[in-house]
Amino acid sequence: MRTTIRALLLGLLLVAVVANSHAGDFPFAPNRTVIGKLDDLKNLGPGENTLLKHLPNQGSPKLNWQQNSSVLRTEMGKGLPLRDASVDSAGNLINNTGFLRAERGLLQQHGWTYNPQTRLWSPPAAK
């Protein structure tokens, strides 16, 4: 009886975790970094972060991109998947202009792959 109750509680806990993982229509993960257009970075899931705090304005797009690409490379070096927030409801990539386009290009150049189902960019080794 006790085992049955324990199994039932475990089952409920799993349901709760899975439900939470779909709360923002993307998989939940603690300390996940999210890229995207600024307007798309306003609705982050629990435990998600952007790189914006590492990007103080340097005064020009050129200097800002140097800084941005350097920060993104550092983040890529951690080898953890990144969520793309500039997507449509099917996970297709949208707003492919400017810095976001360059960020996606940088990820692709380094062998990162995008999965529309998860909305995640994953490093080569994690494919």
Partner: protein, 199 residues
């Protein structure tokens, strides 16, 4: 918004909000919009049918429009979407603007205002037919781009396998994307299939 200028005054000296007020606001006012918010980075307007914001992004200095029907606020579109819908994908109009100097900001805002004047009439009045078409055009465009991004590493891996005469791997990589292969890739797949039957 967490990215702040070390010198807010410098950002305001670029004259973004003033340029929007001078060149874009009159067009919107004539269509029943009122201004609802203004910062050094964005100016927002609303009409009964449409919400529209003009952005000057703090980090990238990109300038763009974002707008949506009031009835469907999550379906947001930008300047590029409007031009792709009205002119067709592959048009030659410039849809990307970036400016960190006052004169350039004014030039870009004038250009965006010109586009709105020439192509944005139905977008601004919230014509449902135009929004329906925009939904379809952008969906197809975004799907095609995403497919290209997803398939590029597969194509590259297949190319590498082809160079190494690893035909079983070529077959395994190409088969799931067979419908999207180029004629050359299709020929390679056929060749790989006939040379890797046991695999």
């Amino acid at each position: 918004m967490t990215a702040k200028d070390s010198n807010n005054g410098r950002r305001e000296s670029l004259g973004f909000a003033e340029a929007v007020a001078q060149y874009i606001a009159p067009l919107l006012t004539a269509k029943g919009f009122t201004r609802t918010e203004q910062t050094a980075y964005s100016v927002r307007f609303q009409s009964p049918a449409v919400a529209l914001a003009v952005f000057h992004e703090p980090v990238s200095y990109e300038l763009d429009l974002v707008y949506a029907l009031q009835a469907a606020p999550s379906e947001r579109y930008n300047l590029c979407d409007m031009l792709d819908t009205v002119l067709g994908i592959g048009h030659k109009e410039q849809a990307f603007f970036q400016a960190s100097e006052h004169d350039r900001v004014v030039y870009c805002i004038k250009a965006i205002a010109d586009y709105l004047r020439k192509y944005g009439d139905k977008v601004l009045i919230g014509d449902p037919t135009v929004y329906q078409r925009m939904r379809e055009v952008t969906r197809r465009r975004n799907e095609a781009y995403t497919k290209q991004v997803v398939q590029q590493p597969i194509r590259q891996a297949a190319e590498d396998a082809w160079q190494k005469h690893d035909y079983a791997k070529v077959r395994d990589l190409y088969e799931p994307i067979e419908d999207d292969l180029t004629p050359v890739e299709k020929k390679r797949l056929d060749y790989a299939k006939s040379h890797s039957r046991s695999g």
